[in-house]
Amino acid sequence: MGRFSSILLNIVAITVALIGMAPFALLTLLAFSRNPTSIEGFTHENFAFIWTGKLFADPRYLQIYPDIHLVTLNTLALALGVSGVVVLLSSMAGYILSRYSVPARGTLLGLILALHGIPVIILLIGLYFLLRSMGLINNLLGVIMAKTTLDLPLGIWVMKGFYDSIPWDIEIASIVDGAGRLRTWAKVMLPLIRPGIAALAVLEFISGWGEFLLIYTLIFSNTSWTLSMVIRGLIGEMGSINLNLIAALSLYYFIPVLIFFILAQKYLLKVSLGGIRG
């Protein structure tokens, strides 16, 4: 390839990158726009809800849209809950599957791989009645458990991969020293796979933070809403009037994802491969 065409290709790549950035750049511009329906003028008033917690000055809307501080806490609880439980359970199961020859290990691993692809739609109706009977419907805890379990097969695979990459000698030395299996796992292995734990924790935080479908089906009262439900509600009700407000809320919702994404991009470009639905 000649020098000229090489430069040309780099320019094409930069253009492609800019096109990919455009939707997010446009969102940012709209969020700071004074005009409610187009990018025009500059204001930060659209973000007033961050301090006041209220999306609208009109008190009638408070009935429909809960306090944004509460909604943010709900979203955070879901994200941290999913991330914490997935990391804990995956680093337990992943360890056993990587190190111990349990009966039917191959079948188990195959099953986990198959479960990873199980579509949400197949679970939703059963989940709705199951959580109802357990008293976990309309409860964020129910959503955390449902979401956790959907993501668990991937988590176990990822953690198993990280354990597989650690040599055995350190661990054997520790067990021979009489440290006990639980202690060896907690004090020797977990510190060694810290990059894996961090990567999975971030991936699952993003996954829980952005969840929509499970909240939409399993939560009824707006006091348990997350940001996705508020934005969905706003799009439905005033998707053509208050675009700049929706954009501001969307940007507020998106920024934590972006920060985590930038911090963990190196891992995410590898790990997120498996975590895909469509």
Partner: protein, 300 residues
């Protein structure tokens, strides 16, 4: 000592397995059981045998849902895989910082909360004058075009394709990077133009990866409906973009709970379950996924 090991394994493996059984396998089984009942908003569990299945097979709308699903899967897949391949080819043939930037940016739609990405795309392609494209058209003196109502499928291909293309992009990138450089250098020495190198060397060598991504995406797209729900919601008009999975979802979780037909919807998802199971078994054979069991999946 032996006991200690058994307890350790049972605890560490048992807890995650119990969670999976309770929140994954049990709901799936429950859905199948519900498909044999007439469960609706009155919440009465009465056994109706295969009645729901009979009604589905005789409902004239089902052909429409199947056709819509085929359309959705085929179109999104073409966009997905094509875009993924294009991004992988571009990002591996430029200087690495730029290539990395391209890949990172096209991974963003996947990690963006679905409602946010749906909102942005709805606004860009809005049929109203306030949409990004339409307001630009008006400014430069053209007439606005009702994008999402005139081209609903194309819109859905773009939205779902942008979310999905990063899978192909990342897999193809690592495949292209692992092609021995001698092949390409030899072709260059022979004076082959780059387009020939792409079609005669690169694509044939990553054929397997293309097949894998296509297969994997087909499986997940058949049951995918979240972004349709969030954007066109089966419209515009009468079931224009209502795919099978979305129709099942609407039947169960309708806007007004009085019209919820859980039994019927559960039977609809059973068909999806069967389709997904058949495809999984086929792929299991075709791609020898069993080999993946012995290898860690992370280092793709």
């Amino acid at each position: 000592m032996k006991n200690d090991k058994v307890f350790f394994i049972a605890g560490f493996l048992g807890l995650p397995i119990a969670v999976v059984i309770l929140f994954l396998l049990a709901p799936a089984m429950l859905t199948i059981i519900i498909s044999f009942t007439g469960l609706d908003h009155r919440l009465r569990w009465e056994y109706v045998g295969l009645e729901n299945y009979r009604r589905i097979l005789t409902d004239p709308n089902m052909l429409l849902f199947i056709a819509n699903t085929a359309m959705f899967v085929a179109g999104t897949l073409a966009f997905n895989v094509g875009m993924g391949l294009l991004l992988a080819l571009i990002s591996t043939h430029v200087i690495e910082p730029i290539g990395y930037l391209v890949r990172a940016i096209y991974l963003l739609p996947r990690v963006t909360p679905s409602v946010v990405f749906a909102f942005i795309m709805l606004w860009i392609f809005s049929p109203l004058d306030s949409g990004v494209i339409n307001s630009t058209l008006i400014r430069i003196g053209f007439n606005p075009i009702p994008w999402t109502t005139s081209f609903p499928w194309l819109f859905l291909f773009i939205v779902n394709g942008l979310v999905g293309c990063s899978l192909g992009m990342l897999i193809f990138t690592s495949a292209i990077k692992s092609i021995p450089s001698d092949y390409i250098i030899a072709a260059k020495v022979d004076g082959a133009p780059y387009i020939t190198i792409i079609f005669k060397i690169i694509i044939p060598m990553i054929k397997g990866h293309i097949a894998f991504v296509t297969a994997y995406q087909t499986l997940s797209l058949i049951t995918s409906f979240e972004y349709i729900l969030l954007t066109l919601d089966g419209g515009p008009g009468y079931y224009t973009t209502e795919v099978w999975a979305l129709a099942a979802f609407h039947k169960a979780f309708a806007q007004y709970s009085l019209s919820s037909q859980y039994g019927y919807a559960a039977a609809m998802t059973s068909f999806l379950m069967v389709a997904a199971a058949i495809l999984t078994i086929l792929y299991w054979r075709a791609f020898r996924l069993r080999e993946m069991i012995s290898q860690p999946k992370i280092e793709v």
